[in-house]
């Protein structure tokens, strides 16, 4: 939160309290503002929140622990498919959401360890390329495990996933507050996802400012030195992989329930790279960066859809570059230029790994 606060332009440094409230108000009011532009924007915000969770999880692996994972979307897939298996007509199993969610997280976490074990010794670009392969392998299995026994229903995907049901309260239905006032389901999802993101931030921040967060940072900065102060780098790498994967798994469960349909197409390499770009764009290694990066890049294509076409039409009389091309162009340029010009990302905040108040206490002694 503090990182996010200080990332607020102008206000962040001068009046952190005001900046904090600004963020809270914006977060709460966002779907209402979005509603002015249409319900689809609320839906886009919902997805943006899912991307934030993904970016937070990937940031934990890439930014905190320094392990470049190009197959991260595989864990998202594991989460989504877990939900599809356990809460849909596919196997005709309908476990409650609160049972499926931890299972999805746990399976994804296990998948993280499964990936982590063999790649422990690899570093840098080799790690990246093996994880990329891992992501593709998972996707290919999802796409083909309908034969000889139908497990994933193959390329057809699984339809009719249960919606999120919080103790009898179905988020997929509009909430009827009074006779003629109801809250749209998209808003319900928004606030539920927001709560999940806030929970994730708190959890990740606690991790960051802890012996584990420090050990990850140490390992990332200098693995040899980290070993020399007694850090068990093997266990910590596995922990990073599985924690990151867990977030991916949770996001996947939410995605499956929200979308109601999962199919292997949603878990392509391009998605992995999109999430990585979010982390890089925002600023590797800090929570605010992941949040801002995910928010900016999840909204970018939709904004382009609305702005690029009319803009080009007024400027050139016809559309030169359609929004999707423009999006690809901007994404790729963002990756290149960010690395060249601003490698620390949009929000180059320095992550904290200690509580300053503890220091004041001991310094006072």
């Amino acid at each position: 939160m503090n990182e996010l606060v200080s990332a607020v332009p102008w206000l962040g440094k001068r009046n952190p309290m005001a900046a904090r409230w600004l963020i809270i108000i914006l977060a709460i009011a966002a779907p209402m503002v979005a509603m002015l532009f249409g319900r689809s924007w609320v839906r886009i915000l919902d997805f943006a929140l899912l991307y934030m969770m993904l970016a937070l999880g990937l940031n934990l692996v890439v930014g905190f622990a320094g392990l470049l994972d190009l197959g991260y979307i595989a864990f998202y897939a594991v989460g989504a498919y877990t939900f599809a298996f356990l809460a849909s007509p596919h196997f005709d199993v309908h476990l409650p959401f609160w049972v499926v969610l931890p299972l999805g997280a746990a399976f994804a976490g296990m998948a993280g360890i499964m990936l982590g074990f063999p790649v422990l010794r690899l570093r840098g670009d080799y790690l990246a390329i093996v994880t990329l392969g891992f992501g593709e392998i998972i996707r290919i299995f999802m796409n083909n495990l309908n034969y000889p026994i139908n497990i994933t229903n193959g390329p057809q995907g699984i339809n009719g996933l249960d919606s999120i049901n919080l103790f009898g309260w179905d988020l997929a239905r509009n909430l009827q507050v009074t006779e003629d006032f109801s809250i749209n389901s998209l808003f319900l999802y928004y606030y539920f996802f927001l709560a999940c993101v806030v929970g994730s931030i708190i959890f990740i921040q606690r991790l960051q400012i802890s012996r584990i967060g420090r050990a990850w940072a140490a390992m990332r900065d200098d693995e040899l030195a980290a070993k020399a102060i007694g850090i068990n780098t093997r266990n910590l790498k596995l922990l990073a992989f599985s924690m990151g994967a867990t977030f991916g798994g949770v996001a996947g469960c939410l995605f499956g329930a929200f979308q109601g349909f999962v199919s292997p197409e949603s878990f392509s390499l391009m998605e992995s790279i999109a999430v990585l770009t979010m982390v890089v764009f925002g600023g590797m290694g800090n929570i605010a960066g992941a949040i801002v990066g995910a928010f900016a890049l999840a909204l970018l294509p939709e904004v382009l859809r609305d702005v690029a076409v009319p803009l080009q039409q007024t400027l050139f009389g016809h559309v030169l570059l359609d929004p999707e091309v423009l999006r690809m162009l901007l994404l790729s340029l963002a990756m290149i230029l960010m690395m060249l010009l601003r490698p620390a990302g949009l929000i180059p905040a320095r992550a904290r790994y200690a509580h300053p108040e503890n220091l004041h206490r001991s310094a006072a002694k």
Binding site: I129, G133, E136, I137, I273, L329, M339, P343
Partner: protein
């Protein structure tokens, strides 16, 4: 029996293309320790540039002989790719040479997508038919085994290019400088080698090879497309690692082995797994091999020591 021979032949053809692409990866990795993700996309630009040139030639000189046309197309595609290789190195990778290792890698991924997008803008999204100037009429050297002239051409051409490249690297002054720079930038510069120029040269040669590979690839399958380079690029990288990255012979061997594994794998996996797995898993062989090699024998088949730079 002819099925087996045919599968081996299929593997050899696709493997030769992988090998050619892998050479570019391995050279750049050898000298810079960088996985140039965009290498596969340089191949795509090569193919599409050649296509564009041929279209133009067919318009202005319809009677031109196919060989002349192909040669001119190559003569255009190669310099274009060289320019791209040079520009990438100069504008992006050089400035990141001392950056943390993730930075050039992420940049390279960005480069790959940038090239694809630009190609999409220039050439559109559709598949293009690529004129098959070398005959694709199959011959039957053995009863039941079919091979086309373009396939023979691909195998022979990659072998020749491989020989040419090893002569360049092993027998010439610049080749020596490349190897010296790959081993130790600092000492190479003490020998009077302008290491920046040598690195740029390596990129340019790699790009030229990619252009040739692109034209071969497109000639064989008769199509070209903005996304055609990514997958072969990835597989070729696997081939380079399999053979031992930084090693030219290894890249060639790795490419052929990978081609054979894919071809024979797709052909026989069903029997081998009693029908549990089938050809839908064709694309994972490369990744599984990659994982296994990196984990158990990171030096690859003919490997030299993998760079320790972290």
């Amino acid at each position: 029996m002819e099925t087996l021979i045919q599968q081996i032949l299929n593997g050899l053809v696709i493997g030769s293309v992988y090998a050619l692409i892998a050479l570019g990866y391995t050279m750049v990795y050898g000298i810079l320790g960088l996985i140039n993700f965009a290498h596969g996309d340089v191949l795509m630009v090569g193919a599409l540039t050649a296509l564009q040139t041929m279209m133009f030639l067919m318009g202005v000189a319809p009677g031109m002989s196919p060989i002349a046309m192909l040669t001119i197309a190559l003569m255009v595609a190669i310099p274009v790719c060289m320019m791209i290789g040079f520009t990438m190195e100069r504008l992006a990778y050089r400035r990141l040479r001392n950056a943390p290792r993730l930075a050039p890698l992420i940049t390279a991924i960005g480069m790959s997508f940038l090239l694809q997008t630009l190609a999409m803008i220039i050439w559109g999204r559709n598949y293009h038919t690529f004129p098959q100037l070398i005959s694709t009429t199959p011959m039957q050297p053995i009863e039941g085994v079919f091979v086309t002239p373009v396939q023979i051409f691909i195998i022979i051409a990659s072998a020749l290019i491989m020989i040419g490249l090893s002569l360049l690297v092993n027998k010439t002054r610049i080749g020596r400088a490349m190897r010296a720079t790959a081993e130790n930038h600092r000492v190479a510069s003490l020998m009077g080698v302008d290491t920046n120029a040598v690195i740029a040269f390596t990129f340019v040669i790699g790009a030229a090879l990619a252009a040739v590979a692109g034209v071969m690839f497109a000639s064989n399958y008769g199509i070209a497309h903005y996304g055609m380079g990514f997958m072969p690029g990835l597989k070729a990288f696997t081939a380079a690692v399999l053979g031992g990255i930084g090693n030219l012979g290894g890249a060639m061997l790795g490419g052929i082995v990978l081609g054979l594994v894919e071809s024979l794998g797709a052909g026989y996996i069903e029997h081998m797994t009693f029908g549990f797995l089938n050809s839908s898993y064709q694309d994972i062989f490369a990744f599984i091999i990659l994982g296994l090699v990196l984990i158990f024998k990171p030096t690859g088949l003919l490997g030299e020591r993998v760079s320790d730079r972290a």
